[in-house]
Symmetry: D2
Subunit: 245 residues, 4 copies
């Protein structure tokens, strides 16, 4: 733990790995998730991880698949999401976009987003979000803009540089952490010593902690101007119908 | 001013309208910008507006076009950006994406993004960003994910629901605030009384103020884990080369 | 059937509805799919439809889930894809992006994309693709650019205006075809008489047929310059290492 | 020229380089454009190139800036666009998206898109489009989906694999063709020998030629089902108001 750092004890973080590999030991994204996890854990943050494909996640804009007779672990996942101050979505890149299971996990987060907290704000207000992306060729920023937009739209705060990722040069090639490619041993595991990726993972980890602590110390966002019940009383958006140009 | 609200005096906001209409009085986006401006102004925030096309903005990943013999107002714009705690980019939607001039304004913000503040963090740390989007048919979220991603990538914090916008039903139709369409007078100016748009404009305005105040009271982000000079000392991303699975 | 039209008999089209509603009778996207289907069927095209959620689709960049012990209908779906000259993906919009199951269907199409046809071209060469999008507020173009990009990337040809869709005005509202909203009966089912949507559905349907017929009459793309085995002999991309500026 | 290849003489192609570098000799994208140009030129296609920043392009959804008293070369550019069977947009990647000037060039193409050809179809019907993307780290696919979507939306046909590009590994690094990085000479110019990029440039070049020839031989798209005047007579989209589920 860094002694000059704020005290982050008491914060909780949840990482959801949305790899589409059935066997999680083969997920390359996991390796970069582990780096960001270790940054937070070293500062005393309580970190939990979920591997999405280990769970039964029902399709639908629904809160509980059981209501439709479906096996569904989402209510359990949602509880963990609600307990965490920090949520990080990890995804591989396929065809330049985030994975199907990442899309599904976000759909299910969205299904709860109409609920409100005790202040009357949307449920995820006061929490912070980030993302971890890996692929072998292209698309970190595109996946990140998609995921971070979704998170802020449902109430998360996005601190600066809240994404990190690794891709290789254009074209097929080793994935993150691969030690060989086309049968030949690589001089070093792919990407693990990439300074840019490591720096961004570090910036992301710390900024998520800084922002989560700031929000927690502040008891989240004041409930003025951002609740369904209240906004009409504190807006100038509705009060005047501007004379048209 | 709302009496239960935090005191936002001392905050500054800059709105940049990136319409591609030469004559700013014809910008539909301006009408929605004006709503969000009036929300902030009513709380005592000092708001400034720029209409991008009124200024000479040079192309290039450059800080000052004068260095290349180009007319360039960006150094002046950049000074306003640096003075503001809140930056809001307004853009129309064309073909589902943000405008060319919005793209150019963001390129020029990016050109300065390697600079650091007095703490050694990227220049825009401690500031908050949002966006205002209008079009006549489709693309609010796509434009917003693009703009908000860019802002967070260069150091801005994105509070919850930091975008607002208006579009009409699929297909050609009146633009925001239009009082007639195809020669016929509309019963009311298009979109101005859309509750969803007004609510989102309100949520955005207040959340930008809340987050800006929180960051200002906190003196921005602590400079631990997020500076070019420091990160290698406070990371676990680099310290270990995990034995490969 | 239109008598001035080319004869499209012999063409096959496959529509895959990627709604996330378990009960397909509740899919709004289906209504717009049905319109485009009827356009093609009226010209003698043999049209088949699949409702993705009716099938077991395994996660993974794999050809056959059975190889990993998973229930997987994809080999059967892939056979239908290969038999069809035209593929249309239908999806609802959630949070501005295509559905999770649409993402998964495309991942599985991608898993086969390294295979080649009898000419040595990628598998989907000679086929044409389009998409149908519905939502209640925003994102037709964003979903379409994602889906159409994926299809052309794996070998499909995209004719002009190969997407159609419907969304309502910004904010919550009736979905495509809804006859009531918030308990009140609507004057007409939402969107069904939208000229823009109907026109685009028509343009898409006909352009897919025109392009499919043109490609079929031409026996697909000539296998020059676009096969893994051949390209190095017919390129000037590799032959010279241009002296650097 | 390849003897087994179709005869492409008589085809015209236009490449527009949308670099934001004032000095075109410094454009990295130009190097990859030159490769694709040489592929087409070797087959007898008449190729013309424009460097967008060499021209005065007015902002606005307008056909001729002169109408608003602006310097504007777009009418001249548009004439070249109309003479060409093939249009390729080249762009660098900045912050994960296409350049501002690429966005502007596409806005201006769009401004003409309501015009019709002699058959009553949108203006660009019968032409084919592609794109060339370079950057030093990330975003080929995202830029390509944006550009290719825009082109197909206004009437271009997109053949298979109609994009090519080069990026390096995640993080700052040499740009395409750079011979040194951070003051050190590289063993070879960056990316020029990347097989994946060269293959894609080749596939794109040939597929654009194949599709352009096929469309030209076919006299473009038959004007059935895709004109503003005609569609209502050949659609089943409008004819029935399906009884609601």
């Amino acid at each position: 733990m860094n002694n000059d750092a704020p005290n982050f004890r008491g914060l909780k973080a949840l990482f959801i790995n949305c790899s589409i590999k059935k066997d999680k030991s083969k997920s390359h994204t996991q390796l970069l998730i582990d780096k960001t996890v270790s940054i937070m854990a070293a500062q005393g943050v309580e970190v939990e991880q979920l591997y999405a494909l280990d769970h039964r996640i029902a399709f639908g804009m629904i809160k509980d698949g059981a209501d439709e007779g479906l096996d569904d672990d989402c209510p359990m996942i949602q509880q963990k999401v609600m307990e965490a101050d920090i949520l990080v979505i990890g995804t591989p890149i396929w065809l330049g976009v985030k994975s199907s299971i990442a899309t599904q996990v976000i759909e299910r987060l969205y299904a709860y987003s109409g609920d409100t907290n005790e202040k009357g704000q949307y449920l995820y207000y006061g929490k912070v979000g980030g993302c971890v992306i890996t692929g072998n060729e292209d698309g970190i920023k595109h996946c990140a803009m998609d995921i971070l937009y979704a998170l802020q739209h449902i109430g998360y705060t996005i601190p600066p540089q809240a994404d990190c990722g690794w891709i290789g040069e254009a074209g097929p090639g080793p994935s993150y952490g691969d030690t060989e490619w086309k049968g030949e041993k690589l001089p070093a595991p792919a990407g693990l010593d990439n300074d840019f990726t490591n720096r961004n993972a570090t910036f992301m980890g710390w900024n998520l902690m800084h922002a989560a602590k700031m929000l927690k110390d502040n008891d989240g966002f004041p409930a003025v101007g951002n609740t369904g019940a209240d906004w009409q009383h504190v807006t100038n958006a509705k009060s005047e119908n501007p004379e048209y140009r």
